[in-house]
């Protein structure tokens, strides 16, 4: 991406450098603005890594798999928040994608024309709701609902099942990994739905009309024409949602239960990287191993998000959709 952008700029600057000093100054300013972003990104990564270095040195690679987070004994392992971050984000994607697909399918193929605009706007507004609002809504509406209906029912009916029973064990607190994933799913839904709707609209009408002409049903057109045509962009949109889910802090803090113990149950409490950093940061002494461990977790989150967003950018790159 950066290369495709940089090439025309480079060409432009060489061509115009001979004309006037004003142009040269402007070219330099524009170039430095572009480089500034790269430098900033690099500086953040480097400073996080340096901050986290004492922790990496003390615990090594064990930091990634050790579930022991004990500020009193000064031993820190990041397994619980790393696991919590990944599992809530993946569960959120599993819940949001089918719904987002339904929304996009309905809006592009089925809904009456006059109805498409208000629903589309509503989805975009959903994306504009601040995350703290989702957190409060989750804490005061979803958590009691989960605690009094969903979790007791699931625990009664499902926890004795062979093989999957362990997923539904534990007391019905209402908070926990599943609740956090549910809130995240609602939060990332608008991003995924909006991306899907936009890419579905890029399918040339002639393709669809040809398929209809051959006697295809709406679903067959969607399955055999629209989805294959937009597949990579759809995956890119999902990755974009995943990126948001990974870094979400406040809404998750409200509902995840905030414990540094590994829990196999979906109703069990957990922690995410963003949440533990937000909670523990104010009480961390400068120069302490705890502060360093929090910075190390921040570095890990940065790397995970970076990978996810890099994949999403690659897939969303125009010209790869065919």
């Amino acid at each position: 991406m950066s290369q495709t952008l940089a090439a025309p700029i480079a060409r432009a600057s060489t061509r115009k450098s001979s004309t006037s000093p004003g142009d040269r100054i402007f070219a330099a300013a524009a170039k430095s603005a572009g480089v500034f972003v790269l430098v900033l990104l690099g500086a953040i990564i480097v400073s996080l890594f340096i901050g986290g270095w004492p922790s990496f040195r003390a615990f090594g690679l064990r930091f990634l798999v050790d579930a022991d987070w004990d500020p009193v004994q000064n031993t820190f392992g990041g397994a619980v928040p790393i696991y919590g971050t990944l599992i809530t984000a993946v569960l959120a994607i599993l819940m949001a994608v089918p719904l987002a697909f339904g929304i996009a399918f309905y809006l592009t193929e089925l809904a009456p024309i006059w109805f498409r605009r208000p629903v589309g706007t509503a989805i975009e507004l959903l994306a504009a709701v601040p995350s703290i609002i989702y957190g409060m809504w989750g804490f005061f509406m979803i958590v009691p609902f989960m605690a009094s209906f969903v979790q007791p029912t699931a625990i009664d009916w499902l926890s004795d099942l062979p093989l999957v029973g362990f997923l539904f064990e534990g007391p019905p607190f209402g908070t926990g990994i599943l609740t956090a994933a549910l809130i995240l799913a609602v939060m990332i839904l608008p991003f995924i739905a909006a991306t899907m709707r936009d890419v579905f609209l890029t399918v040339p009408p002639v393709f669809k009309e040809s398929a209809y002409g051959l006697g295809c049903t709406t679903w067959e057109v969607m399955r055999s024409i629209v989805i294959p045509y937009t597949r990579t962009s759809v995956v890119g949109g999902i990755m974009l949602g995943l990126g948001r889910a990974l870094g979400e802090t406040m809404a998750v803090t409200f509902v995840i239960g905030n414990t540094n113990r590994l829990s196999t149950s979906l109703f069990g409490p957990g922690n995410t990287i963003a949440s533990i950093v937000a909670l523990e940061f104010p009480e961390s002494q400068a120069g302490s191993l705890k502060l360093s461990s929090l910075l190390a977790l921040g570095f890990i989150l940065f790397v995970i998000s970076f990978i996810v967003l890099a994949i999403s950018r690659t897939l969303l790159r125009p010209g790869k959709t065919s």
Binding site: P71, V72, A147, P171, G174, T259, R261, L279, P282, A286
Partner: protein
């Protein structure tokens, strides 16, 4: 030229501010923040000192005063002697406060349930898991306790309240002391975390069978269901102001180094067992002696005139003797 004018205006504004009110800045503990805010309002009118206090947490307050970015730091957990000497800080207490357990058990009203420190430690260790456990029933013969799972709730964010509460558990249970310990955040063996006093209060209200701990002022304002606790003398006491004051008075202030008095599980027959002081950290070698003097003037005013404000907010004012000892320390230890 333009720049110079701008600089002059900026300087003028900066210099002009103290003419109206002397500004002092502090940062740290959230626990005493409400009383510092009220004192600040009252002191601005009375002695012309404007307090700018940021409740960023005890750890943050210690970091900031050690870097000297504020005039004073505030911490719930006392800083140990060697560290105070190394960073050239004077530590003194301002007010005291109590931490109280809160519960949500159907049919149980405030201060009906009796608990012991050992039992609370067992509950938070995940060893006592039902409200009709034989140990709880033995302490509460008159109450009908439901067969309900106990859901312990703790502060997920690092906090002075957690430091005080875990100090109590460590004081009454050797097992807690060995396995978990006392700190602003610990490795909780059981339960769920919630953010802030309000988070713990709201979670306990929502979850049937929950037990939590909050600062007393918070429990009173929100009418949460508190419990009785057995103190060191063996008596069951309810969380009331006289019980807190009794604990404060039975503290061994005379022998405490740097005023780091231990008010946890004091011996008095009517003492509430979970009481703690909150502290101010002031540089002994202030960069700006004027501002440091203003900080001392502020707390001197608060000692003399702030007791009623503190008591209204359910904090416990310092005993007179301690206040006088602190005033003496200011004179002898802070370079003017």
């Amino acid at each position: 030229m333009k720049f110079r004018t701008l600089a002059a205006i900026t300087a003028a504004t900066l210099l002009a501010a103290p003419a109206f009110a002397q500004q002092i800045t502090g940062a740290g503990a959230t626990f005493p923040a409400p009383v510092y805010a009220k004192w600040g309002e009252a002191a601005k009118a009375a002695v012309g000192i404007e307090l700018n206090y940021q409740a960023i947490g005890s750890g943050g307050g210690q970091n900031q005063i050690m870097n000297r970015t504020v005039d004073f730091g505030a911490s719930d957990a006392p800083v140990d002697g060697p560290k105070l000497a190394e960073t050239k800080l004077l530590q003194f207490p301002t007010v005291m406060g109590a931490v109280v357990p809160i519960v949500n058990i159907p049919g149980i009203a405030a201060d009906q349930l009796k608990l012991t420190g050992d039992l609370v430690a067992d509950i938070y260790a995940g060893k006592v898991t039902k409200w009709n456990d034989a140990k709880i029933a033995a302490l509460n013969p008159g109450l009908t306790l439901p067969s309900l799972a106990i859901a312990p709730v703790y502060r997920a964010d690092g906090s002075g309240t957690t430091y005080v509460f875990t100090s109590y558990l460590a004081a009454v249970s050797t097992e807690w002391k060995d396995k978990v310990g006392a700190a602003t955040s610990v490795k909780w063996p059981a339960g769920n975390g919630a953010k802030g006093n309000d988070g713990v209060g709201a979670t306990v209200k929502q979850v049937r069978g929950a037990i939590g701990y909050v600062e007393n002022a918070y429990a009173t304002q929100n009418k949460l269901t508190t419990t009785q606790l057995r103190n060191k003398a063996g008596a069951f006491v309810a969380p009331t102001l006289p019980a807190f004051t009794a604990a404060a008075e039975s503290g061994d202030w005379k022998n405490a180094q740097n005023y780091a008095v231990n008010l946890i599980d004091t011996a008095g027959p009517t003492s509430w067992p979970i009481v703690s002081a909150t502290f101010i950290l002031l540089p002994k070698d202030p960069k700006d002696a004027g501002r440091s003097a203003a900080v001392m003037k502020f707390f001197d005013w608060a000692y003399t005139n702030g007791s009623k404000i503190a008591a209204d907010l359910e904090y416990i004012p310092l005993p007179k003797t301690v206040q006088d000892a602190v005033r003496a320390s200011w004179k002898s230890e802070i370079k003017g």
